[in-house]
Symmetry: C2
Subunit: 419 residues, 2 copies
């Protein structure tokens, strides 16, 4: 690893004197050192960073000075060492510098959250409202107010929002517009255009887009992937009013040929079953979507937001209430049939029950496993793990915010250039 750029002053950060080549070496070194600090299990010292990266200690010190000045890195409290000598001061990601704004629009709620560089959630608001009767412009206007509130709260905590990401329950095109969100009845909604009037979502940091729009199930799957415990390949299900999936293969989200993968909610469970909003029949959503579960549990029309509904169902199932238990068994069976198809096709070994399914996993998981056992060709000798998601209902918004933070860590020079 070549490492030649040296810097001893903060005042040169905004405009490196050495031209493109030095500039890009500096950028590489900043990203290299910050990446090591982010990935470390315990706060590394400058000496440890030099050993790990192959940079000289002088270079590491200079790079760290820049990162500290830019509020990307801070020194951890020194921990006493076993051996002799004074304790080495370790470096950690800063909790008072840039942060990511994560937003989510779903069928029955809006969410905004702020995640700092260290991954901590510093702000989280969920606004419950049935958005089906609301126009896209109005829904996005409400979301922008939530975003402004999140931004003010972040500022009060000394944080600066470096970019935003928004999860939507539908298919997103290259421009960030929503081509189709069946459960919201959205078609061709130009999301970035409708949000352009709201400054918190249009200010930019070099290298960090002001606003990235993505499918909420994709963001939730990424969130699970970066929660650390996740394996390299898995299917992540997001159970909301609609059902989405994120397919992670070898540590990366698989987006499909045109970016529209993961529409598991519209895989037919019973092809001649009841009609679905998508135009098909017998889709998974008709058996395991929130409305279907509530209806089977005798709670139709209760009009609860997803997490309340999941909690209520969990309480009833816990208490042994037969209709709730039956509803969850039926949903789990439909999920199991669909997931068996996915495993037969893709040979995945892990299924994560996310969104509203996470707190319901104790009742959904057994019928899912039973269907896998019955239908997956390799199940007899190659077991499949089915487990609840780490984050559950907040995964999409937290995942969105986390995606912003990861962009800063991957390319810190953009953030430093704005100071």
């Amino acid at each position: 690893m070549a490492a030649m750029w040296q810097c001893q002053g903060v005042n040169r950060l905004a405009a490196p004197a050495g031209g493109v080549r030095q500039g890009s070496l500096r950028e590489l070194n900043l990203a290299l050192v910050l990446g090591r600090i982010a990935a470390a299990d315990r706060p590394p010292s400058r000496a440890a960073l030099a050993a790990q990266t192959g940079l000289t200690r002088a270079t590491v010190s200079a790079v760290v000075e820049d990162l500290v000045a830019g509020r990307l890195v801070t020194e951890a409290e020194p921990t006493p060492r076993a051996g002799a000598g004074r304790p080495a001061r370790g470096l950690v990601l800063a909790g008072d510098g840039p942060a990511g704004l994560g937003l989510e629009i779903n069928v029955d709620y809006l969410a905004a959250c702020v995640v700092d560089l260290s991954g901590e959630v510093r702000h989280h608001t969920v606004h419950r409202a049935d958005l089906r009767p609301v126009s896209p412009a109005d829904a996005l206007g409400r979301l922008a107010r939530l975003a402004a509130h999140a931004r003010a709260d972040a500022a009060a905590q000394g944080l600066t929002l470096a970019g935003a990401a928004l999860g939507v329950p539908g298919l997103v095109d290259d421009t960030g517009g929503v081509r189709l969100a069946p459960n919201l009845s959205w078609r061709d909604v130009p999301v970035p255009e409708l949000l352009a009037a709201y400054p918190p979502l249009t200010e930019t940091v070099e290298g960090v887009p002001a606003l990235v729009v993505d499918n909420e199930a994709n963001l939730a799957a990424l969130s699970e992937l970066h929660a650390g415990a996740g394996p390299g390949s898995f299917l992540h299900l997001s159970g909301e009013v609609g059902i989405g999936a994120g397919i992670v293969l070898d540590g990366a989200l698989f987006r499909g040929v045109r970016g529209w993968s993961g529409e598991i909610g519209h895989i037919p469970v019973r092809p001649d079953g009841p009609p679905c909003r998508c135009g098909g029949r017998g889709c998974l959503e008709r058996y395991a979507g929130q409305e279907a579960i509530l209806a089977t549990a005798g709670l139709a029309g209760a009009d609860m937001p997803a997490d309340t509904a999941a909690m209520r169902l969990a309480q009833l199932a816990e208490a042994g209430e037969p209709a709730a238990r039956h509803a969850l068994h039926e949903a789990g069976t439909a999920i199991g049939i669909t997931v068996s198809s996915v495993i037969n096709l893709l040979d995945l070994d892990t299924v994560v029950l996310g969104g509203g399914y996470a707190p319901l996993a104790p009742w959904i998981r057994p019928p899912v496993l039973a269907e896998i056992e019955r239908r997956v060709l390799t199940a007899a000798w190659s077991p499949v793990t089915v487990r609840p998601a780490t984050l559950g209902a907040t995964a999409a918004a937290v995942g969105a915010a986390g995606s912003v933070v990861r962009r800063i860590i991957a390319r810190p020079a953009g953030w430093l250039a704005r100071l």
Copy 2:
């Protein structure tokens, strides 16, 4: 590209004098030049190869001399040029050097074929027999006799078999053994061990395994991929007694976490439908496998091999025979339902109807398209191409032989070392 190895004599091929570093440079140059010749639209001259590879003309000449001496490359007939000067002699892959042996075991036939370096099929035998009542050892013994016959025919044509690949209708483990082939009732069959007694399948060329065992649907999909016309990502269906799929993503076969992807025949179409050999219910094979189609067409018990059955069905459908038309419409509908699930999940834009489905595509394709239109969320604005495979029923064996040939082209030094 560094290119320093020089050679002017064939006698040094077997043991390069220059040690590891020179040996590996030589190997790189051989592979580089041979790869260009294989990929060229028209036979390239030595000068064109030098320009394309960045090697000196002297190096290219020396490398070509080795490739010609090793019967990997030959000079094409000179074609008259428009400009002045004598015509340049172009180089093509040789048709009289090494060749690949491709083998297939399916439920109702065995196949062996030989493909030369230029991709031409030089030998092809299909032995029809219901292999369900036959023991694995006996079936493999018959296959070995077919292989011996293919080898003798290849030798009579001046070809040398450099390796073999075998397609099986089941799940193959790391050792080349068949874990499970439901339609053959095979379980834990140690294929390489059972074939070890047959010399044509155990002789080795350095860098080319004597025998590679793979799922036949995977080999058929690879065959379609290398037929050239194929796009970067597609789902390839192999319709035989069983139904397999090969999933090609960005030009590479997707094998899944443990290598067992593509079991599309056991995706449930109607989860409460008739029981399947796999232990599940209502699997695709029960609606669109060869036996199901023949039964619906009123031809149950006719006991025809897959290609005969497909041809007979095509004749009847062509003649407007209602039962045959109905059977193909039902099969196409079941395939369409399943394929819609795959597209909703993976966002693929091309489906290839292979194996016995290829000649039946005129009747299967319309109901497949109708289901896609009805069930795929993105179908309205993002069309899916459904087309017959280029090779059809011979794809797996030809694909197996082609995989051997591609290994030689990727690493010609192994072949040259044995001369």
